[in-house]
C-alpha cells in the first residue's frame, strides 16, 4: 500500500499520533507529592487484596528435612525494640478476649495441653533473607476452637510484652500450619526468640510472627493492624 500526501498533512497526522500517547503522561501523577501517597497506598491495598484471594486454606507451605535446618545459632533474632522484654514466666498468662465463648487468662500449661505439632518451615523476612527453622507448638486453629472463637470472626490480633502488636486474617489463623509456638529446635523458646509464646505462621512474612505474646483477641473489626503495617508495610503479606 503506497499513498501520497503533502508535508503539512503529514505533520498533522504525526501530531495526532503523538497525542494518542497522552495516557503515558498520566503516570506523572506518581510524581506529584499530594497524589503519590494515596496512589501508592492504593497499589499496596490492591496487592493485599490479590494476596488474600491467592491464599488457599488447604495449600501447605513447603516443609523441610532436618538436614536443611539453619543451625539454631544462625537463626536471626529480630525485634523492633528489645531482644528480651523480661517477661516474668511465673506470672505470665495469655489474656484472651473478643468474640470468644471462653475469655480469660490462660496459663502456659493450659495451652500446652493441646496436641503438639512440630514442623520444619521457612521463615522469610521482608528484608530479603530467609532461614529454615524447627517450630513446635499447638495449632492456632485448635486453640481458637478450644476458646470457642466465633466462626464468623474475621481477625485474630495479638499484643506483646515489648508493646509490639500484630493481626492476621482468620483464614490464615485457621491454616493447619499456623502455630502458637512454644518450642524451637526441640527446646523451649528462648527469651530472644519470644518466650514463652510466639506465632509461627509459614504462610506469612516474618513481621507477622509476633513474639512474647501477652494478649490475643478475636474480632470482626480491626482496631489496629500491626506495628510495621502502621509504618507503611503490607497489611496482608501472605507468602
Amino acid at each position: 500500500m503506497n499513498s501520497r500526501t503533502d508535508s503539512r498533512k503529514f505533520k498533522t497526522m504525526n501530531r495526532r499520533e503523538l497525542l494518542k500517547l497522552t495516557p503515558v503522561v498520566a503516570l506523572g501523577a506518581f510524581a506529584i507529592p499530594q497524589l503519590q501517597k494515596p496512589l501508592l497506598k492504593g497499589g499496596l491495598s490492591f496487592s493485599d487484596w490479590t494476596s488474600a484471594r491467592l491464599f488457599r486454606s488447604g495449600h501447605l507451605a513447603p516443609t523441610f528435612a532436618d538436614s536443611d535446618l539453619t543451625p539454631f545459632e544462625k537463626f536471626p533474632i529480630n525485634g523492633y525494640d528489645v531482644d528480651d522484654p523480661e517477661v516474668d514466666f511465673d506470672k505470665w498468662t495469655l489474656t484472651v478476649s473478643g468474640s470468644v465463648q471462653k475469655p480469660g487468662d490462660y496459663t502456659l500449661a493450659q495451652i500446652q495441653a493441646l496436641p503438639k505439632v512440630t514442623q520444619n518451615t521457612r521463615h522469610v523476612c521482608v528484608e530479603g533473607w530467609d532461614v529454615i527453622g524447627r517450630f513446635g507448638g499447638m495449632r492456632l486453629s485448635d486453640f481458637l476452637k478450644s476458646i470457642g472463637a466465633d466462626p464468623t470472626a474475621r481477625f485474630v490480633s495479638v499484643e506483646c510484652a515489648d508493646d509490639y502488636y500484630e493481626s492476621i486474617d482468620i483464614a490464615t489463623a485457621m491454616h493447619p500450619q499456623s502455630l502458637l509456638c512454644y518450642e524451637m529446635y526441640g527446646q523451649p523458646l528462648t527469651r530472644e526468640h519470644g518466650a514463652p509464646l510466639r506465632l509461627s505462621i509459614p504462610t506469612k512474612i516474618g513481621y507477622k510472627q509476633a513474639k512474647y505474646l501477652t494478649d490475643l483477641k478475636v474480632s470482626h473489626v480491626l482496631e489496629k493492624v500491626g506495628y510495621w503495617e502502621d509504618q507503611g508495610y503490607s497489611e496482608f503479606y501472605g507468602l
Partner: protein
C-alpha cells in the same frame, strides 16, 4: 501485516520523501508505559535490595555491594515495596496487552526471532561490533534486532515469574521449586534485572546511533527518510 508506506511532498520545495509506519499505536503505548514502569521497578528494586544486599546467609551476613541510595527509589524498604508492589501491576498489565496485541494482530512476525533468523545473526554482529559490511535485510528488523527484542520480552516474562516466586513462595511453591526455592529465586530475579539493564543499555546506544527520525517513529509511528 502490510507495512504502510507514504510519499510526502514538501509544500514549499516540492521535494518528495518516503515515510514508513513502523510502530502500531499499541506497541508505542506499551513501550513508553513500560519504560516508566521498568525505571520504577529497577529503582525500587535496588532500594529493596539495600535492606539485605546479599544472597548468602543472614548470619554471618556478607554484603555483595553497597548500592548508592541516590540510585534507588522509595527512600526506605517499606516505601520501595509500595512502589514495587504498585508498579508490578502496571508492568504485568502492559506486558499482557503487548503480547496479546502482537499475537492477535500478527505483528509479532516482525519481531519474533525464529530459526531462519539464526544464520543472519553473526553477519549483523560483525557489522555492528567489528565494522563488517552491512548485510542486506528485506525485513523491518534484522536478525540481531529480532534476537534482542525477543530476548527482552523473554526477560520481562522471567522477571515477573521470578518476582512471583519471591512474593508468593508458598502459594506459587511450584514456581519457587522450579527456581531452586525462595532463596535462589531472589538471585535469579536480581540477575534477570541486570540482563534487562544490559538490553536497555544496548537499546539506548542503538537509538542514539540511528538518529532522530528513528527515535520519532516510536512516538508517532512514522519513520521519515531512507
Amino acid at each position: 501485516m502490510a507495512t504502510r508506506a507514504m510519499a510526502i511532498e514538501d509544500v514549499k520545495t516540492g521535494e518528495v520523501t518516503q515515510a514508513v509506519y513502523e510502530h502500531p499505536f499499541v506497541v508505542r503505548l506499551c513501550h513508553w508505559v513500560n519504560a516508566v514502569s521498568l525505571f520504577v521497578m529497577v529503582g525500587s528494586g535496588f532500594q529493596i535490595f539495600r535492606a539485605f544486599p546479599s544472597f548468602g546467609a543472614k548470619i554471618p551476613q556478607k554484603d555483595l555491594l553497597d548500592w548508592p541510595k541516590a540510585l534507588a527509589l522509595g527512600g526506605w524498604l517499606g516505601g520501595a515495596l509500595q512502589w514495587h508492589l504498585t508498579f508490578m501491576w502496571i508492568y504485568i498489565a502492559t506486558g499482557l496487552v503487548y503480547i496479546g496485541y502482537q499475537i492477535f494482530s500478527g505483528n509479532y512476525k516482525q519481531v519474533l526471532f525464529v530459526r531462519h533468523d539464526l544464520p543472519g545473526v553473526l553477519p549483523m554482529v560483525r557489522h555492528y561490533f567489528f565494522f563488517g559490511p552491512k548485510p542486506l535485510t528485506k525485513e523491518a528488523y534484522n536478525p540481531l534486532q529480532k534476537h534482542a527484542y525477543t530476548s527482552a520480552i523473554g526477560l520481562g516474562v522471567l522477571s515477573v515469574l521470578t518476582g512471583l516466586a519471591i512474593w508468593k513462595p508458598v502459594q506459587f511453591s511450584w514456581l519457587a521449586w522450579m527456581m531452586g526455592g525462595f532463596h535462589l529465586a531472589r538471585l535469579w530475579h536480581f540477575l534477570i534485572m541486570w540482563a534487562m539493564l544490559a538490553f536497555v543499555f544496548g537499546h539506548l546506544v542503538m537509538v542514539v546511533l540511528h538518529g532522530w527520525n528513528n527515535f520519532v517513529s516510536m512516538l508517532t509511528g512514522w519513520k521519515k527518510g531512507p
